[in-house]
């Protein structure tokens, strides 16, 4: 049979989860990572990353709004997706997605963003005119008290939301890892390390995304990049990446040393069908190269321009590498037979519902949403309370 080596169970030849399901963990990972970066400033008082705080929140929101779309587009019956909320099957890991998602969207992210931007929204509801005024008026939700006392309450509630938000971000992405890690039928996925590997890779990708976006935005606005901020983000990125890499290596060593019945099959797959995406893109260019670059910036005091170039290159490589990691998990996990006797292949369609064009548009959509959010809620000005508290 075309594209098949050895023996596959007849129903296994066709892959069930396409590139859209690759996007799902990738996008939720960016959300979780961006939020964790934001919480560095808010909860852990890492003041150096303050210039990215609001940008990180808006980035998380833009990607979170798109996160369910690949799943929705993938369903055989998207019109029935609401059933997951109405009649969830409590033993199913996937059934919890809707609730985890809604919790994170409404209780954590929207609330924190609203509290953070409230003073600006109120100010703009009074200084703008026409449709803009109506928009900002609506966004105030009827609350236009921005007195110092009110802002102190905002700040306290915002802090509490962020404290709740950190485990929620962990839950959001750890849960995505659990969806794969709990499938005992698939040895490529079935490992208790999967949620934690997903979580740390999410943090890596989210931090890298915000770092790159910050630099791009500053460049676009012809504003000076705060290198102290970039240095600090890069340092945290490096630390998180080391943990992520360690966990992935632990998984690899464990599999190799244990060498259970699936090992030969998986080993063969990594050396053939997944060689490019796994070894070359994910490990070599997506992990080792950026890790070495980031390590070099920690050991050697480069000039500002060199540091900036190294940060942006490593950030870009990380984003590609983590995408490759998601690809290798989702697609790779379906390329071998559960009989361990054969391999199939995945052909990415171009214009079908689950093809390259759909995936590309879904990947561009968060950036369009982010551009709109940046327009409505410019993150560059400091909020009133913080400005006053900084005085």
């Amino acid at each position: 049979m075309h594209g098949v080596d050895g023996f596959m169970y007849p129903n296994e030849v066709e892959l069930q989860w396409s590139v859209l399901i690759v996007l799902y963990p990738y996008i939720t990972g960016l959300v979780a990572g961006a939020f964790i970066l934001a919480s560095l400033e808010r909860v852990f008082n890492v003041e150096a990353v303050r210039p990215t705080y609001r940008l990180a929140l808006l980035t998380a929101l833009a990607f979170l709004l798109v996160a369910p779309l690949p799943l929705q587009l993938h369903l055989g019956h998207p019109e029935r997706s609401l059933e997951m909320y109405l009649t969830p099957h409590t033993s199913s890991a996937m059934a919890m997605f809707g609730f985890v998602y809604l919790w994170y969207l409404t209780v954590v992210l929207l609330l924190e963003i609203w509290l953070e931007f409230r003073a600006d929204i109120v100010r703009m509801s009074k200084t703008t005119t026409g449709m803009q005024r109506l928009l900002y008026k609506a966004l105030t939700l009827g609350s236009d008290n921005v007195s110092p006392a009110a802002r102190i309450i905002d700040d306290k509630v915002g802090y509490t939301v962020t404290v709740i938000g950190i485990p929620s971000a962990f839950l959001l992405h750890g849960y995505v890892g659990f969806i794969f890690g709990s499938i005992k039928a698939n040895p490529w996925w079935s490992t208790p390390l999967m949620p934690i590997v997903f979580l740390f890779s999410a943090m890596v990708s989210g931090i890298a995304a915000v770092m790159v976006l910050y630099a791009v935005c500053m460049k676009a606005r012809k504003t000076v990049i705060d290198m102290h901020c970039m240095d600090t983000i890069a340092r945290y990125l490096f630390y998180t990446f080391v943990i992520d890499f360690t966990l992935e290596m632990l998984d690899l060593i464990h599999r190799t040393y244990e060498a259970d019945e699936s090992f030969h099959s998986l080993n063969f797959m990594v050396h053939t069908r997944l060689w490019t995406s796994h070894i070359i893109v994910q490990i070599l260019f997506g992990t080792l190269a950026p890790l070495l670059m980031l390590a070099a910036t920690q050991l050697i005091r480069f000039r500002e321009g060199v540091r900036r170039a190294l940060y942006l290159t490593s950030g870009g490589l990380i984003l590609v590498g983590i995408f490759a990691m998601r690809w290798n998990v989702v697609i790779g996990g379906q390329l071998f037979s559960k009989s361990f006797l054969g391999y199939t292949s995945y052909k990415l369609d171009f214009v079908t519902r689950e093809g390259l064009i759909s995936a590309g548009l879904l990947m561009l959509l968060p950036f369009a949403i982010l551009a709109a959010l940046l327009k409505v809620l410019p993150p560059w000005s400091q909020p009133i309370s913080n400005a006053s508290s900084a005085d």
Partner: protein, 246 residues
């Protein structure tokens, strides 16, 4: 006494009435009692597959396909042929699910046998566990079914099945699989695959029926299940299952 034409017609008419009344009476008295309503709690369905008896004819695959309108290229049941040459990697084939049987083996001097496969109707089914809306469920009589009016088509159950028994129906866009011919077995019939097996390699069993021959068979024979280490408790049992079978 002379019999007129009128007398003949009269006697014939009376005999006809008597005969039809007798036949009706016989129908009423001698008829089989109406079958009792099917009670799910009284059954626990499974299947016994005797590998030594399977000849790889593919009758079961064809019968299943016809009975259940299985779309081309997808399989509720299929047959695999294993050819094992000593310690070498086994050669396993299932050309188009063996719907047309198998070509002749390449070499004769190897251990060769056929393994019919279908949903194992596991007691602890991973597919049932993972379905986000409960569209896949196990019936009270032990058959794993899919409610196609409820299935989202997310395909999580296909990923969770260790045996590759599920597929997404290309037209319905819902998950489809072996129902153990539920529409037949609840009417007192056997499955289409069992009915069409010329060697009785596949036999439907009711583990709750004390009269079912499976109980006697299990007392006298050694049986195995597929991937026992998955702890899914399959209700499809195999006699003479080789260690090479996955």
């Amino acid at each position: 006494m002379e019999m007129t034409r009128r007398d003949l017609i009269e006697i014939g008419g009376k005999l006809l009435v008597l005969a039809s009344a007798g036949a009706t009476l016989e129908q009423i008295i001698g008829a089989e009692p109406a079958p009792e309503a099917y009670k799910t709690a009284e059954h626990w369905w499974g299947m016994l597959i005797d590998i030594g008896k399977c000849i790889g004819c593919g009758n079961c695959v064809r019968a299943c396909s016809n009975e259940n309108h299985v779309p081309d290229g997808y399989f509720r049941t299929w047959v695999e042929r294993y050819q094992i040459d000593g310690d070498k990697q086994p050669l396993v084939e299932s050309p188009n699910g063996a719907i047309d049987g198998f070509p002749l083996p390449v070499t004769a001097d190897v251990k060769a046998f056929f393994v019919p496969k279908l949903c194992n109707h596991c007691v602890d089914s991973p597919c049932v566990q993972v379905c986000p809306v409960g569209a896949t469920f196990i019936s009270p009589d032990g058959v794993v079914l899919v409610d196609e009016s409820y299935c989202l088509g997310c395909r999580y159950c296909i990923q969770a099945c260790p045996y590759g028994c599920r597929y997404l129906h290309p037209e319905k866009q819902t998950v489809d699989k072996c129902t153990l011919c539920y529409h037949r077995i609840t009417q007192g019939l056997t499955t289409a695959c069992c009915e069409n097996c010329p060697t009785q390699a596949r036999v439907l069993c009711d583990f709750k029926d004390p009269k079912d021959p499976i109980h006697e068979f299990l007392k006298k024979n050694k049986v195995q299940v597929l991937k026992a280490y998955m702890a899914t408790e399959p209700k499809v049992k195999y006699k003479d299952l080789d260690v090479a079978v996955r």
